[in-house]
């Protein structure tokens, strides 16, 4: 028997808002949905409807989310990419974002790739590097395809040192490059000799020293450190100062213990100290490990990757295999450093929104009200942003609690169904790169993942369930 009669009628109104009048007049409860066509078109709307509250999807999401929660990313060491990343081809350069051809890449990424070729000593200068690339000698692939992530241009070449993150729950690994620091650096497309020299220093001095230190220290569990950083004002994407400070606190006793050469010790401490974003790459690879744990559950509608290459924005979904769903990368609304404006900005770039994918970054913005000084808005906007993300996520990650919300847990597990149904796109805090190679960061702001990516994914997920006309 239907529950329509005999109990209080409570109505959800979808469409003509005037219909609420007669209901309110009668004193019955009604809530009006601020409706707009899901995904902007009827096909997406229809595909979505088959998936909403569908038990198979909920079950898959429950499994995927539990795997994400149980993930335990630990920093276990570092080494050259070619030595530690399995199956890495000889002449490959990994980049941020979904796959893209050289001719379509944006300037900062091209500049960074050139720099990497020079660093690898495959070419001596820009010209020879370009020739090499055009001859097809070098292959490109997204970092994500090798379980890695990189911020901004996200360039990882075979000789570059990478962090090794191991998920101790699943014994799988994720990787990221080391953060070069601020200013004119490779990840913004700079490839002048001093940039290359710095990369060599990182390869030959910094990395070995860190490796020895880490061997002394043993594996570091990253989630507890990140949780603490969230309690100290970081959101661990655009604001990493506390996390970086906590990290160096871990390192220094072990570094001293490792009996490194004094000048080396002095150099590496000075370097890490000068870079408030040093922890970013660790945060990103920890998030990558967590999301990899959630990936690959058939039927799951949870987003396991979001990434941009400066031209396209791409997402991956747990139940849809390794396919990327892409759309042009948006421009960013933000605050610019003096002398720069929106005309100078490159479209959204980098793998760093893996942090938002895992429920931190802009999703935990409530933890970092100070971020609004960089990205714009007010402190209450920061809190509202986190709260808004609750409407598009599966649940919350109680490993990451937010003091400003009475230690409520951060929303996590972006559900493509909810994104399309509500029209609320995931929010991302991000730095803004200059569109020309090598200039560097020119500001920071807030952007949203393009809805179109999720629309494409919805259609394919509903096909996965082999809909004919069955509801």
């Amino acid at each position: 028997m239907s529950n329509l009669f005999g109990s209080d009628l409570e109505i959800i109104n979808v469409g003509i808002s005037e219909f609420t009048e007669s209901i309110i007049e009668k004193g019955a409860k009604v809530l009006n949905v601020a409706w707009s066509p899901p995904g902007g078109n009827a096909e997406v709307a229809r595909s979505l409807s088959y998936l909403v509250n569908r038990p198979e999807v909920e079950k898959a999401n429950t499994t995927a989310f539990a795997q994400y929660l149980s993930s335990k990313p630990c920093l276990v060491g570092l080494g050259p990419a070619k030595e530690v990343i399995p199956d890495l081809p000889e002449r490959v350069i990994l980049h941020a974002g979904p796959p893209i051809l050289w001719e379509n890449m944006c300037e900062p990424v091209k500049g960074a790739i050139i720099g990497a070729c020079i660093f690898e000593k495959w070419a001596e200068n820009y010209k020879t590097a370009e020739w090499l690339i055009n001859s097809g000698e070098i292959s490109f692939a997204p970092c994500h395809h090798y379980n890695a992530v990189g911020p901004m241009a996200g360039i990882i070449s075979p000789s570059m040192p990478v962090w090794i993150i191991e998920d101790s729950a699943r014994k799988t690994r994720a990787y990221s490059n080391l953060n070069e620091g601020l200013g004119k650096v490779l990840r913004f497309g700079a490839n002048a000799p001093d940039v290359i020299e710095h990369l060599h220093w990182m390869q030959n001095v910094l990395a070995p020293a860190l490796k020895v230190t880490l061997e002394r220290l043993g594996p570091i569990e990253l989630k507890p450190l990140m949780a603490m950083a969230l309690h100290m004002g970081d959101e661990i994407h655009n604001r990493n100062a506390a996390a970086s400070a906590l990290f160096i606190k871990h390192l220094i006793p072990a570094a001293l213990d490792a009996k490194l050469d004094n000048s080396v010790l002095s150099e590496i401490v000075k370097f890490i100290n000068s870079n408030d974003h040093f922890f970013l790459n660790l945060s990103m690879s920890a998030c990558k490990a967590m999301m990899d744990a959630a990936h690959g559950v058939p039927g799951s509608s949870l987003v396991t990757a979001m990434a941009r290459n400066g031209v396209d924005f791409g997402i991956r979904v747990s139940g849809l295999g390794d396919k990327w769903y892409t759309s042009p990368a948006p421009l960013i609304n933000g605050l610019f450093f003096p002398g720069y404006s929106a005309e100078d900005a490159n479209p959204d770039l980098g793998d760093s929104c893996i942090t938002e994918t895992a429920g931190i970054g802009a999703f935990a913005m409530a933890a970092s009200p100070a971020i609004v000084q960089f990205v714009g808005g007010s402190a209450s906007d920061a809190i509202a942003s986190t709260r808004q993300m609750e409407h598009i996520t599966f649940s919350k990650n109680d490993a990451f609690t937010l003091p400003q919300l009475d230690f409520d847990a951060t929303p996590a597990g972006i559900d493509i169904r909810k994104v399309i149904d509500t029209g609320i796109a995931p929010i991302i805090n991000t730095g803004i790169a200059h569109r020309e190679a090598g200039v560097g960061q020119i500001g920071a702001g807030i952007t949203r993942a393009p809805i179109e990516c999720f629309s494409q994914a919805i259609i394919e997920l509903s096909e996965f369930f082999n809909m004919s006309n069955e509801i």
């Binding site: 038990p55 909920e58 429950t62 599966f394």
Partner: protein, 316 residues
Amino acid sequence: MRFAASEISRKTINSFTGKVHSVFRSTVNLMLNDGELITLHASNDKQQLPGAISFSAPLGFDFSHHVKHGTNICCRGGILRLSESDLTFDLRLAQNIKLEKNYYSSVNTNIKNDESWQIAWNFLINNRGSAGLILAINKIEPVTPFDVALVSRAQECIPLLLSSVRKNNIVITKKAASRLVGAGPGLTPSGDDFLVGFLTGAQHTFQNKEQIKCINFLGSYLSKQVGNSVDISCAYLKHAASGYTIKSLKDLTKLIINDTYRTKIINSINIVLRFGHSSGSDTVFGLLCGLAVKKPLLSNIIIDTLNNKAAKVKYI
């Protein structure tokens, strides 16, 4: 926060409405509009509570941080939502467990070995509980006049119950039980806890139709005690009357019937004692009485213990 129910021990329905009735750390009782009581149980320990929906919760989860008495609840499309909180439960993913009923389920008709019963009894009377019917048999002296009166009632009613059930005397059974319903401290009064245990024990040892008539009558009587006791407690009495009790109590019962391994029995008792809000000792007391009904030797031990205590208690 979204949870998936892991076990449901009632017929699955996709749609119901009600309110939060009582809130504890890892349990919440929901009173539905149709009068039924369900328990939401955050636990990994698969207790198989009757009328319960279990789910696995993170460490430190505390219901009282999320809901309070009177909070509205509603289940639509298989999703249970609690108003003014972000807790949602997907009930469709739960394994619908068929609870084992107490009677007609045991292969054994009688306790194999009085020894295991003795082990349990001795452990119980050394229990240091200082409230409830346990005071009638353990080594703690009742202090307050209320406790004295309660102990006196226990000494009067429990022997009556033991003999009346053995002799199938419905009238006396009803009289004795009625004096225990609602009696004693606790959200579920001690007397009710005792009777839940008693029913469980008796259901396991009566196998033929004649003998079971009295137990069925007692169960039926105890199912109708709304108005004489706290509503949650009445719900548990009703479940017990139908043959459904928590798994840990069932496990203990089976151990006593089938096993003599001392450590196992004591561990099992401890599990029951830990569960719930100090109902445990009275429940075990009742269980042992229920198991002893058909055994005059064991019944006498119970009565003697009660009487010895009586001799020491001054009746005001």
